[in-house]
Each structure stands twice: as structure tokens, then as C-alpha cells.
């Protein structure tokens, strides 16, 4: 693979993308999630569209405040409805999730769509034994009796690599180490063999060696279970070798989405490149100057005109501050979408200004 946006050979067929072959598992179309705050509406997710194939892994990368966590919860319709307005469409397995009755959603949650949360200490109920935290969804969704559910929970604990599950099943979360807690969290999420797993920063608080173990476990579980995974993270390193496609978020929008190799090797959006070049790498010599971008992400409670990145963008023009660029596909790769008026060299791949709702 070459640097600087020079076109490379890429096997598009390896990446199951909506519109190609089988119907996608998940189609998100123009999703908006707005919080009502005392300071006015906060557009945490501002018109996101993408689709996800069965058995595909999509990495969603962004800095804090980019809306990636809110997006993952919006996909599940998990946000409390009281102070949140959600518009657009999320079609999961042929069913519309946005505005669906709570009862319908609850039948999907934990059964067909499950989530792994960032901080397993906070995500596990401190006063409930590990066993029941796993068995309760088994008993609810699979209608197992207590004994069957316990047997299933033991087997799940074994599958996620917990030693002596028959002891651990009776433990409370505080009696486990951080890595074990996250394994338990994964066991809970996988309990009913979901079709889609949303993992929100699943390894952020963990040590380097444990982080690698947990990510490997997720990959292994996905391969075994034929499920789709959305891996939400701030760390490009987490998704670099584990995602089929990567979506980069900035200020509540997807600014670039493409196959992983293209995101790294054929970057089109200046923000993506800034993110890549400001990340320190082990492969670089020490004291390598990082290409830092000045400033910080915009305040989402203030309406944004034009491209949200334009103020920090080295290649911004007058147009960028006025008119928001739509997601546009690259000329040589219809699955590579980016939102930029002045894409990086190699930008001549722009084919046409498609709406970009379906990738």
C-alpha cells in the first residue's frame, strides 16, 4: 500500500457493504439525535447514514464529543425518551427502530442487539451476583428455567475465558479484576447470540496486555457466532486491524467512511488525516514531531454552518465555512464516502455528489 492517496488495488468484495449482494442487517438513514438542554438543543448526532452487512465489523472512530457514543445508543434507541429527540430511520433486520413501541424494542434488546459498555465496573450491578446478571436475559428471551439458564451461563463464562466459572458465577463484580469484569460483560452481551453487537470503548480503561486479550476475544466471538459488530472507539489502534470498515465522526456527523485499508492508505478527509498523523505510533522513531491540529471540536449547542471542521482545517476555503459538504463517494470506490469540498490529493476520484444515504 502506498501513501498520499495514490490509488491502490483493493478487493472491495471482501467487505460486505449494503447494496452489494445480500440485504444489509442494519440501515441507518439520516439519523438525528438532539438533547434538550438548558442552553438549547444539542445536536449530538446530526444526520448520520450508513449501513452494515451481516457479519461485518464497522469501527466508529471519533474524539470525545464527536457523538460516537450517542450514535451507538441511538442505533439501539436506548436513550431515555424524556429529554431526547430522535428523527430519521434505523432499520434493523427489516424493522424500524426509531419510534418503535418500548415493548418491541425490549424484545430486540439483549436478544438480537446487545451492547458492551466502556467501564465494566460501572456497567455491572455491584450488588447482584455475576450469575444472575447473565441468566436474567437468558430466562427472559430464551425462556429457560433456572437450571438451564445457569448451565448456559457457566458455558458462556467458559467461552469468554473465565477460569473456574462455577466459582465466578457466584462472585460479585468487585471480586473480579478489570479484565475479568469486561469478559463477564461480553458474556452478558453474547448470552442470547445477538445478530448485532455494539461495543462502546470496550477496552478503554484496561491495561495494554488485557486490552489485546479482550479485543481478540471479541474478534473470536464474532467469527464463531456470525454476528455484526460496531466497535466504537477514540483509538484508531483499536480498529486498525480488527474492523472491515471505519467511519470517522466529527461534530455529530460521519465525515469519512471506507474500508479500513482505504481510511489509512487513501485518506480523503483532512480531519481523518489529522487524526492519523496526530496519533503517536510505536513504529515511528522517538521525538518524531506529531502533526497536531490546532483548536478543538466545535460546541454542538451552537448551530454549525458549513463544514464543522473548516475552522481547524489546513485546506479550508471560503466555501467550507458556508456550505456543508455532503457525503460523496470516491470515483474509484463507491464504498468510500467522504464529506469534504477539498479532499486530499488523489481527490480526483470524486465521481458524483450522491446523497450518500446508502453506501
Amino acid at each position: 500500500m502506498t501513501q498520499g492517496g495514490i490509488e491502490v488495488d483493493l478487493d472491495v468484495e471482501r467487505f460486505p457493504v449494503a447494496g452489494f449482494g445480500a440485504a444489509p442487517l442494519l440501515v441507518v438513514d439520516d439519523l438525528h439525535t438532539t438533547f434538550t438542554t438548558p442552553r438549547g438543543p444539542l445536536r449530538a448526532v446530526d444526520g448520520v447514514s450508513f449501513s452494515l452487512g451481516h457479519n461485518e465489523t464497522l469501527g466508529i472512530v471519533g474524539e470525545s464529543g464527536s457523538g460516537k457514543t450517542v450514535l451507538s445508543r441511538s442505533i439501539m434507541s436506548l436513550l431515555p425518551r424524556a429529554d431526547v429527540e430522535q428523527t430519521g430511520s434505523v432499520v434493523f433486520d427489516g424493522r424500524e427502530m426509531v419510534g418503535a413501541p418500548a415493548k418491541e424494542l425490549r424484545a430486540l434488546w439483549g436478544a438480537k442487539i446487545a451492547m458492551v459498555f466502556q467501564d465494566p465496573m460501572a456497567a455491572l450491578n455491584p450488588v447482584v451476583r455475576i450469575g444472575r446478571q447473565i441468566t436474567e436475559s437468558l430466562r427472559l428471551h430464551l425462556d429457560l428455567d433456572r437450571r438451564e439458564a445457569t448451565a448456559q451461563a457457566l458455558s458462556l463464562l467458559g467461552q469468554v475465558g473465565i477460569a473456574s466459572p462455577e466459582i465466578r458465577i457466584r462472585s460479585y463484580p468487585h471480586q473480579l479484576s478489570g479484565g475479568m469484569r469486561q469478559r463477564v460483560m461480553i458474556a452478558i452481551a453474547l448470552a442470547c447470540s445477538p445478530r448485532l453487537l455494539l461495543a462502546d470503548e470496550p477496552t478503554t480503561g484496561l491495561d495494554v496486555t488485557v486490552q489485546a486479550q479482550i479485543l481478540d476475544l471479541l474478534v473470536e466471538m464474532q467469527a464463531e457466532r456470525n454476528m455484526a459488530v460496531i466497535l466504537v472507539t477514540h483509538d484508531l489502534g483499536v480498529v486498525a486491524t480488527r474492523a472491515d470498515r471505519i467511519a470517522v465522526m466529527y461534530a455529530g456527523r460521519i465525515v469519512e467512511i471506507a474500508a479500513t485499508e482505504r481510511i489509512f492508505g487513501d485518506t480523503a478527509m483532512p480531519y481523518t488525516r489529522a487524526l492519523l498523523e496526530s496519533t503517536p505510533r510505536i513504529s515511528n522513531a522517538s521525538h518524531t514531531r506529531l502533526a497536531a491540529i490546532d483548536g478543538r471540536p466545535p460546541d454542538l449547542s451552537v448551530p454549525i454552518t458549513g463544514c464543522a471542521f473548516s475552522e481547524r482545517c489546513p485546506s479550508a476555503t471560503e466555501r467550507c465555512g458556508i456550505e456543508a459538504p455532503p457525503l460523496t463517494s470516491a470515483r474509484d470506490d463507491p464504498t468510500h464516502l467522504f464529506a469534504c469540498w477539498n479532499p486530499l490529493p488523489g481527490a480526483l476520484r470524486v465521481r458524483s455528489a450522491s446523497k450518500g444515504a446508502s453506501s
Binding site: 436506548l78 456497567a123 450488588v127 436474567e136 436475559s137 427472559l140
Partner: protein, 315 residues
């Protein structure tokens, strides 16, 4: 675990010793002379002195205390100067009434407070939450001795739903009438506790519902009701338990006041009579017994903390 219990037990003994001294001194500092109560105001000074010597009241205070304690430790709380009934027998008659009254009131309080708090916490500032919060403020302003008069006027005098004062029926006589006769005082006591339990539990539940593990529970597809009862209630019960502990002594005091006002022959009723008659041993005995009960109950509650929340270490 054993070490923890042992240490707690030793602390408990220390507290009980302090209480016994306190109860003893308190009673002996009361104004009045028991010989006047027993012999009447017109007897001779000589007879009084003889009686004082008989009762051991001419001994120095520390000596009287040691005599009393050594008897207490052998299970002998002494005899009433006035009725000659043994103090332990009086306690064994009166205490079950208090116990029943307090248990009834706490059951009523929790049965009202827990579901109300669960329902209010689900929608803070909703209609139900506002109504119950306002009502609880109103109740806070009413102490039991006013509340009991009010409720007697309404339910006994006006509607005849509950019997009025002096209508206590022992449990051994008729269970239904007994419960009926204690219902009103139990409700009076319960209302005071409901306010506390509701407010404390509601506040903790609202905080707990913000926790990530509640979102996780929702993401499993569990119903709201299941989440409230099985995931939110227990971690929110710590302050409830703490307030129950703090509430015990005022509950006992409230029970005494209500018993006295409604002429229910419980400990409170006995205590007030004994104080009026300067019945030293009776007052000492009741005070010591009540203090022991309160301390032991707190000891049990303390232990319950670690049952409710396994993270609370026992060492």
C-alpha cells in the same frame, strides 16, 4: 467474619455499660422521694429511714449501682416499690405490645414508602412525584402527638372506623380485635416513618437510575418494573437502612407518647406511671431494657449493611 462479630460485640458491651450507668444516674437524679410514694406523705421520719435502709437507698450511689447491676446480670431487675410486681414480669407483659406496634408501623411504612418511591423515582417531577413530595412535607410538619389526636377525632369519634383510647385488646384474647385496636396507633407511627423512608429512598433511587448498570439492564430488554425492583432497589437501600437506624429511637419515643395518649398498656404507659410514682427500680429497668433493645436493633441493622451491599467490607 468471626473477628468482625467479636469486635462489634465488645463495642456493644461497652455501650451497654455506659447505658446502664446513664439509666441509673438519670433515675436517681429525678426529683421526688420513693418513701413518700410508698408510705404516704404523713409517715414518721423514723419509718422513712427504716424503709430507706430496707430498700438500700441509704447506701452510697456506686454501691447501689453495683448491687443493682449484679442483680441485673443474674436476670433479676428487682421489684416495683409500688405494685410489688417484679420488673421483669412487667416488662414481659408490656414489651410485646410495643414490639407489635413498632413492627406493624414499620411494615405499613415500608409497604407505602417503597412502591411510592419506586413510582416517583421513575418520573422525577412527574405528577405522582410532586403530589407525594408535597404530601410528605405536610406530614413532616405534624408530630405524632398532634397526628394521633387528629386521627382519633376523624376515625374514632367521627367515622367509628377504629376504636378510641383505652380500648386495647390483648393478642391472646382475640387476634383480629387486637390488630384492630392497634391499627390507629400503628398508622400514626407509620406516617412519621413513611415520610423519611420515602424521601430517602426516592433520592437514592433517582441517583441509582443514572448509573450505567441500569442502562445495561435496559439493554438486556428487561422490563422497567423488573429493573426497578431487582436492579435499582437494593443498591438504593443503604440510606434507607441508615435512616431506619437513626429512626429507631424516635420511633420508640413516638410509640411511648402514642401509648400514653391512647392508654395502651405498653412500656411507654408503664414508664410514665412509674416516673410519676418515683418507682426507681421500675424506671431503671425499663430505661435499661429499652436502651438495650435500641442498641441491639442498631447492631442488627449494621450487620444488614453488609448483606445489602457486599462491597462493604467486614474487616
Amino acid at each position: 467474619m468471626a473477628r468482625y462479630l467479636l469486635r462489634r460485640f465488645l463495642t456493644l458491651l461497652g455501650i451497654l455499660f455506659a447505658i446502664s450507668v446513664g439509666a441509673f444516674l438519670l433515675v436517681h437524679l429525678l426529683p421526688g422521694d420513693p418513701t413518700v410514694t410508698i408510705l404516704g406523705p404523713n409517715d414518721t421520719a423514723h419509718n422513712r429511714a427504716v424503709l430507706m435502709a430496707q430498700l438500700g437507698l441509704n447506701q452510697p450511689l456506686w454501691h447501689q449501682y453495683l448491687t443493682w447491676m449484679s442483680n441485673v446480670l443474674q436476670g433479676n431487675l428487682g421489684q416495683s416499690f409500688v405494685t410489688h410486681q417484679s420488673v421483669s414480669s412487667a416488662l414481659s407483659h408490656a414489651f410485646p405490645i410495643d414490639l407489635e406496634l413498632i413492627i406493624m408501623s414499620q411494615v405499613i411504612a415500608l409497604v407505602i414508602a417503597i412502591p411510592l418511591a419506586l413510582a416517583s423515582a421513575r418520573r422525577p417531577n412527574g405528577h405522582l412525584d410532586r403530589a407525594s413530595t408535597t404530601a410528605s412535607f405536610a406530614l413532616l410538619a405534624l408530630p405524632p402527638f398532634i397526628l394521633v389526636v387528629l386521627l382519633v377525632l376523624i376515625f374514632s369519634v367521627h367515622f367509628h372506623v377504629f376504636p378510641g383510647p383505652s380500648s386495647y385488646v390483648p393478642l391472646s384474647q382475640n387476634v383480629v380485635s387486637n390488630l384492630h385496636s392497634l391499627a390507629l396507633p400503628a398508622i400514626v407511627l407509620a406516617l412519621g416513618s413513611v415520610v423519611i423512608y420515602f424521601r430517602v429512598l426516592r433520592a437514592d433511587l433517582i441517583a441509582t437510575l443514572q448509573e450505567e448498570f441500569i442502562t445495561v439492564a435496559r439493554s438486556k430488554g428487561l422490563s422497567d418494573r423488573y429493573i426497578m425492583w431487582r436492579h435499582a432497589l437494593r443498591p438504593s437501600s443503604i440510606s434507607l437502612l441508615a435512616s431506619a437506624g437513626l429512626n429507631i429511637s424516635s420511633l420508640v419515643a413516638g410509640a411511648f407518647v402514642v401509648e400514653f395518649l391512647l392508654a395502651i398498656p405498653g412500656l411507654g404507659f408503664e414508664l410514665v406511671n412509674s416516673i410519676q410514682q418515683v418507682d426507681y427500680l421500675m424506671v431503671q429497668g425499663i430505661a435499661l431494657f429499652v436502651a438495650v433493645v435500641v442498641v441491639v436493633l442498631n447492631f442488627i441493622l449494621d450487620f444488614l449493611f453488609s448483606v445489602i451491599d457486599p462491597r462493604i467490607a467486614r474487616d
